[in-house]
C-alpha cells in the first residue's frame, strides 16, 4: 500500500510539467495580449464639455430650437397680462370660468399707468 501511494505521488508529480505550451499557443496568447493592451492604451473618446455637452444633453440643435420656442412662448405669456391672453383667445378663459373678469389686471398698459400715476 505504501508503495502504491509513493507510485501515485510520483505519477502526480510527473504530471506537474507534463503540458508545455506550444509555440503556436504562446503566440496566440501574446497576440490576444497585444490586442487588449492596444484597447487599454487607446485614448477614451474625449467627453464633450461646455456648450457641446449642454447641447448634447438637451437633444442637440433640434432640442435647443424647441427650448428656445418654449422659452419665447413663456416669456410672451408673462409679458402680456392674462387679460391680453384671454383676449387673444377670444375670451375662452373667461368663458370656461378659468378666470373671472374682475380678476384680470389691466396688463402692460395699466402697469405703465400706475407708474405714471
Amino acid at each position: 500500500m505504501g508503495d502504491k501511494r509513493d507510485d501515485l505521488d510520483d505519477l502526480l508529480a510527473s504530471a506537474r510539467d507534463a503540458e508545455a505550451p506550444s509555440d503556436a499557443l504562446i503566440a496566440r496568447v501574446l497576440a490576444d495580449a497585444a490586442t487588449v493592451q492596444e484597447d487599454l492604451q487607446a485614448p477614451a473618446p474625449a467627453s464633450r464639455r461646455g456648450w457641446g455637452a449642454w447641447l448634447s444633453g438637451i437633444g442637440g440643435w433640434r432640442g435647443a430650437g424647441g427650448l428656445v420656442a418654449a422659452t419665447a412662448t413663456g416669456l410672451m405669456v408673462g409679458v402680456y397680462a392674462p387679460d391680453s391672453v384671454d383676449a387673444l383667445l377670444d375670451g375662452a378663459l373667461t368663458d370656461y370660468g378659468v378666470i373671472a373678469s374682475d380678476e384680470l389686471v389691466s396688463g402692460w398698459g395699466a402697469l405703465l399707468d400706475l407708474e405714471d400715476g
Binding site: 505521488d9 505519477l11 504530471a15 506537474r16 507534463a18 508545455a20 495580449a33 487588449v36 487599454l40
Partner: protein, 191 residues
C-alpha cells in the same frame, strides 16, 4: 528589461500590462500559461480543449488588467478559478473526455528517449483516464492540490468552498485515484 520585470510580483505586472508594458505580458504568459494549460489538460483529458480553455483564461486575465487592484486577489488564484470554471463549462458541454490526444508532447522531448516518451505518455493517459472517473469538483481539487501543488486555502478560494471541504475532496479523490490505478503498476512502468 524582461529580467527586471521577472523580479516583480504578478499583480505588479498586471498594472504594468495595463500601462502598456509589453514585457509584462511575456512574463505573465511564461509564468501562468503552463500552469493553466496543465490544469486544463488534466481536468479535460484533451490537449486541444485544454489549449482553447487556457487561451480563453489568459484572454480574460488581460481584459481584467485594466481594473486590477494591487494587493487584492492573487493573480494565480483568480486565474485558476477562471480556468476551473471554463473547464467545467467545457466538460458539461462536451461530456467527459477520457484520455489525451496523441498530440500531447512532453516538455523536454529532445532530452527524452523515445521509450521514455512512450512510457510517460502512457502514464499520463492512465492518469487522465483515472481522473476522468472522478466527480468534477473532486477532480479539480486533486489536480490543484497534488499536481499543481496549490495550497488548500488557495484551492478553497478557487473552488469557492471551505478548506475542510477541500481536504475531504482531495482525500477522497486520491483514494479513488489509487484504486483506479491499482493493478496497473507494471503497465505504468513502476513494476
Amino acid at each position: 528589461m524582461d529580467a527586471q520585470l521577472d523580479e516583480l510580483q504578478d499583480d505588479a505586472l498586471m498594472l504594468l500590462f495595463a500601462q502598456g508594458e509589453a514585457g509584462a505580458a511575456r512574463i505573465l504568459t511564461a509564468r501562468l500559461l503552463p500552469r493553466v494549460l496543465n490544469h486544463a489538460a488534466r481536468v479535460l483529458g484533451n490537449r486541444t480543449d485544454a489549449e482553447d480553455v487556457a487561451q480563453e483564461a489568459m484572454l480574460r486575465l488581460w481584459r481584467a488588467a485594466g481594473d486590477w487592484q494591487a494587493g487584492g486577489a492573487k493573480v494565480s488564484t483568480w486565474l485558476y478559478r477562471v480556468t476551473a470554471n471554463l473547464a467545467i463549462d467545457r466538460l458539461r458541454r462536451t461530456g467527459r473526455a477520457v484520455g489525451l490526444d496523441d498530440t500531447d508532447e512532453p516538455a523536454d522531448e529532445d532530452a527524452l528517449a523515445a521509450d521514455d516518451r512512450l512510457i510517460r505518455a502512457d502514464r499520463m493517459a492512465a492518469l487522465d483516464a483515472a481522473l476522468a472517473r472522478l466527480p468534477e469538483r473532486q477532480r479539480q481539487a486533486v489536480v490543484l492540490r497534488h499536481i499543481e501543488g496549490v495550497s488548500n486555502p488557495e484551492i478553497a478560494e478557487v473552488l469557492e468552498i471551505s478548506v475542510e471541504a477541500v481536504e475531504s475532496l482531495t482525500a477522497r479523490g486520491k483514494r479513488a485515484l489509487a484504486a483506479a490505478l491499482a493493478g496497473q503498476k507494471e503497465a505504468l512502468g513502476y513494476g
